[in-house]
Structure formats: C-alpha cells, structure tokens
C-alpha cells in the first residue's frame, strides 16, 4: 500500500487504549465491542466501499462483508507499529479493498478488456483551474458512475495505490489490460466531469 495516503484526515473516536480493549473483546466475540468498532470506523470504511459501487446497497454489502472478515480474523491481528489506531486503519482498509475486489469478481457483468489494442490513446492534460473547481463529492460521484471494470482499476491504481502487477493478480488480468482500463477510466471520468461542469471542462476535454 502506498504510504503517501494520509489515514489521519479525520479524528478517531477511539483512543489507543480503547481500541486495544475493544479489539481484545472482539477476539472474544463480544457483541458490544464489535458494535463499538463498527460504529467508530463505519465512515472510514464506507468511504472506501462506496467508491467501488454505484449504489448504496452494494456499498453496504461490501462494508458488512468486510467487517465480518475483520471480526473473524481479529484474534490474529497484531499492530504493525506503535500507532495502534493507524495500524488498525491500515489493516481495515486493506480488508475493505480486497472485499470490494471479491465483490466485483463475484458480480462481474462487464468483461474487462483483456488486451490492449495497438492504439495508444492520447489524453490531454486537464487544466488546473478546472480541477480546482471540482468538488470532492463530484469526483466521488463521477467515479461511481464509471463502468465497473474501469472503476475498479481506477480505484485500485489511483486511490488505493496498487501497481498494475498487483491489479492484474487480483483481477486475473494482464498488466496491459490493467493499463488499458486505467486509460479508459480516465477518459470516461473526464467526460462525466464535463457533463457536471460542461462550460469549464469542455475547454479541456479530450
């Protein structure tokens, strides 16, 4: 996982001691502590899950499946470093991403293009002013509108920091296909954003 990503953008509801206690209690299958951890990390986990779907129900399904895996394996969990909360968030993030991938593979309705064609798509750079005018909600909404295959590759590469090799292993595709889908995801995303901000984006649309 790319260490550039800041996992401390929002304040934690649980202190390190509280998290340590509840993690231990979850290892004993204590329902009260499971609920505490679920509530505390709901927003953080849902922010990951709903990028991989285009509807709330699928996002909730990925979220709950992810937490179920966490509670099943929590007795094996050991903090990777001194910061207990950051360690736990990183572990939770990884599980949510893998759960989203599993969900995509299980519900794959769109075939991912397996081979790159010989055409290299030229994508022009996006104007910085136009980028600044994009709100975070619009970007997320636009990502959600991508095709499932493109959306998955885009999320894995751009946001979650997986390499094309890792993506190809996870999705069962070649690295070339992964690159192709990423390129197509960018194009589609720009078109969507163009639709949101048609006058500004049109100037820079490919």
């Amino acid at each position: 996982m790319d260490s550039r990503y800041n996992t401390e953008t929002r304040p934690n509801l649980l202190s390190a001691e509280e998290l340590t206690y509840h993690v231990g209690a979850c290892a004993l299958n204590k329902r009260e502590s499971q609920k505490v951890i679920y509530n505390s990390f709901y927003g953080y986990a849902m922010a990951i899950c709903d990028r991989y779907t285009n509807n709330q129900e699928d996002a909730l399904e990925i979220l709950n499946d992810g937490f179920l895996k966490i509670f099943k394996e929590i007795h094996h969990y050991q903090p990777a470093y001194a910061d207990v909360v950051s360690s736990f968030k990183g572990w939770l993030r990884k599980i949510m991403v893998y759960t989203a991938i599993d969900h995509f593979r299980k519900n794959q309705k769109h075939k991912v293009v397996t081979e790159l064609d010989s055409i290299v798509y030229q994508v022009e750079a996006v104007n910085e002013d136009a980028i600044d005018k994009l709100s975070h909600e619009e970007i997320i909404r636009a990502i959600q509108e991508l095709s499932p295959g493109y959306r998955t590759v885009f999320n894995l590469f751009i946001i979650d920091g997986l390499s094309h090799e890792e993506i190809s292993n996870k999705l069962g595709i070649s690295t070339g296909t992964s690159k192709s889908n990423l390129s197509k995801a960018r194009r589609q995303l720009q078109k969507i954003l163009f639709r949101y901000h048609q006058p500004e984006v049109a100037k820079n649309a490919i």
Partner: protein, 467 residues
Amino acid sequence: MQFEDFDKKVRQAADQHHPNYDEKAWAKMERLLDRHLPRKKDRRRIILFFLLGFLLLGGGVWIAVNKPWQKNEPTLSTLVNSSANQKKQAEPADGSKKQDASPADQQKDKQLQPPQPVVTNDNTDVPATENKLIDKKQNNNSVADLKSNKQDKIQPSSIDKDNQVMIDVTDAGKAKTKKKNDSEQDVAVNTPPAINQSLPDQPVKKETVQEKKYETIQNKLGESKVVEKSEPEKKTDIEKKNDNVADQPKIKEIKTATKKAGNKKKSSLFLSASAGPDISSIGADRFGKVKLLGGAGLGYTFNDRWTVRTGFYTSSKVYTAMPKDYKSPVPIPNPMYLSRIDADCRIYEVPLSLSYNFGRTEKRNMFVSAGISSYFMKKEKYVYMYQYPGGPLYPYYEHEVKDENKHYFSVVTLSGGYQRKISKRISLAAEPYVKLPLSGVGYGKIKLNSAGILVSANISLFEKDNK
C-alpha cells in the same frame, strides 16, 4: 506526470469523503454476525443455577416436611415421669388390685416399682403381727418398711412353712426375711403391735402389690391404715441382692432411655453473620493489602457432626501482578516496558462448604471445613505501570471492567475453627481459612490466593428451650 494534479485531487476527494453513519447498517451487520459468528450461550451457568435452585428447593421441602425442630427427644426425666404417669393412670389410689390389668402389665408394673406392702388374704387365720409374708419378687422395701416401736417384737409363731416365708424381726422397724418357699407370691406386712398385746383376730387379706408408695399400717387397735411409704432404713444382704435383681430391669430401662436420649443427635438450621480480615497474594511471596471480608450465611447441621454452609460474601482484592502473572486477552501495548499491574477488584463470593464437627461439649466444639466458592467480579480496576529505560515508573493507563468475569466453583477453601455457645441459640466462631484458585480469576486470569480469619455469629433457628 500529466495527470498528477488530477490524481492528487482525486485522492484528496477520496480522503475527504466520509459518509454519515447509518443506524440500519448495524442491524444488517448484526444479523450477519448472528449467522456467521453466533454468540455462545453459557449453558453451564444455567445448569448450575437450576441445580443450585433444585438443591435449595429440595432442602426446603425436606425441612418443611420433617420439621426437625419439632421432634421431642425423650430424656431421662421425661421417661421416668412418663412411666410414673402411666402407673398413676393404671392404678387407682387405694391400691386395690386392678382386675383388668393384663399379666404382662402387672409384671411390668412390678418391675418398675418397688414392692408395696399388701394385706394378704389367705386361709390361715394367723395374727397379722405374727405373720409376715414376703413377695419374693417385690422384696425388701415392703418388708423393711415396717414401723414399730422397740417394744414390738415378733416371735415366730406357727406358720405354714410350705406357704409362707418366715420373717425374723429383731428390732423395731427392722425385719429380716428368709425365703423358704418359692411358690409364695403374696406377702402381708403389718406393723406389729406390742408382742404382749393381744390382737383381735383379723383375717389377713391377700392382695397383690399395686401401689409402690403406700403401705398398710395396723395400729395397736388393729385398725388398718394406708399411708405413704417411707424410705427403707436398712436392707439385709438378701434384700440388697434382691434389690439389685429387681432393679436391674428398671435400671436397664433407664439406661436405655438415657442412652437413647444421649444418642439422639440434634440437627439444626442456623443463620450466620461474618466478617474478618482478608489478604490476597500471588504465589507465596507477593502479598497485597489487608481488606475486610463480610457477609451472611446459612447452614444446616446433621447429627451434630456434619454441617453444610453457604452464603454471600463480599470483599476487595488489592494486589500487584507481574507481567508474567497477567494473562491479558488483549495485546498490551509496548509490553517490554510494562513493569507491573496494580489491581483493585471488588468481588462477590458464594461459597459452599462441608464441615466436620468434633470435640463437642455442651458449650463448644471445633470443626474442620472444606468447600468450593464461586467468584463474581463486580468491578475490576487495573493500572498498568510502565517504566522506560532511564525513566520513572508511571501509570501508563487504567482499565476498568464491570460485571464481566464470573468464575463458578473456581476457588477451593480450606479452614478450621472453634465455636462457642454464648446462649441457647447464639454461638460465636473463629475460623482461619485459605482460599486457593483452581484457575485464573478476573480480567488478567490471575492465580490469586487469599487467606484470613472469619469471625461469625451463628443464630440457631427453631431451637426450643428445655425447661
């Protein structure tokens, strides 16, 4: 790198994206957990609860049915009095023969009571003063109770040697008898008048001995009078021997009654209130603080020997555990710097013990006891003391647990004690004890030992005062 800014914007958007909490989401999650990670119901607790309930219910029903406090154990005095009462009821006051008494009853009466003087009716018209007949089975008392003055002397007269027993009276008030004929059953004893006085001829009535306390006295005028028998002044050897023989059944029966009264063990239910100092330790060298243990109990004693006790007690356990003693279910942060764990726990204890009583006297007894207790950790507070290299020892963080850990039948208690009665119903007991855990207790699963002295005031229930 042309999309670097755009990618950065996208990542920022993703980091800032934080959906609101949905309450319904947990409901769905809980259903998922119930299906895949169901909570195990501790059926053992339910089974133990019902078992304890059945035992208490059964014990209560048994006590209610048998009512051990209402059983009247016969004592010696009650036995003798009851026999006297039975005798009074069986015999009229005038000492006349009871016609409807069965031979067995008559025999029994004779055995219980000392022989009574009677007036015999036989065919021989013998002056009463000169005829003394002895009931061979009811001997010396009737004969020896002769009252006469010094002037009275009885000279042996012509008597039917075949049917009567000769009595030699040498002094007033004394009589000696000689058994001549074993077939003689009845005896007539009269206080002899003066030997020189002539007595009117009076037929001597033959009566069986019925009343032990009365004797027929004939005065100088020949008038018979029934008076209360006085103590025998002296007995002859034969009389003594006969006494022993006659008294043996009575003594034997009294002894049996005494034995029965003595062997009848008392069973009793009692309440107790207890308090005393209690100290906890881990191992044999690390002791905690002395705290007060107190509570109330209920006990039942079987046959003065065995006592079953239970109750409810509360105490504080304050101790210090080393990291190696403390088995936390949760990974402890920076365990290499953890120095110790200071614990302060409030526990509820429900013991169940069996005691053996010995050295019992009327006032005191000693006992040894063994039992097993259940610990309910009401509140646990743990302070984790850390010490970094070169730094001071300081409390890193505190952790509280409430009403979480329950340890059924997990602590063995061994004790001995001394109990002393201070009144009919109340007794005091001092009981040193040690408590040894069968498994770890509390959040850290500590093998916590305890020791102390319990002082109890026991109050017997349903105890009758003997008047």
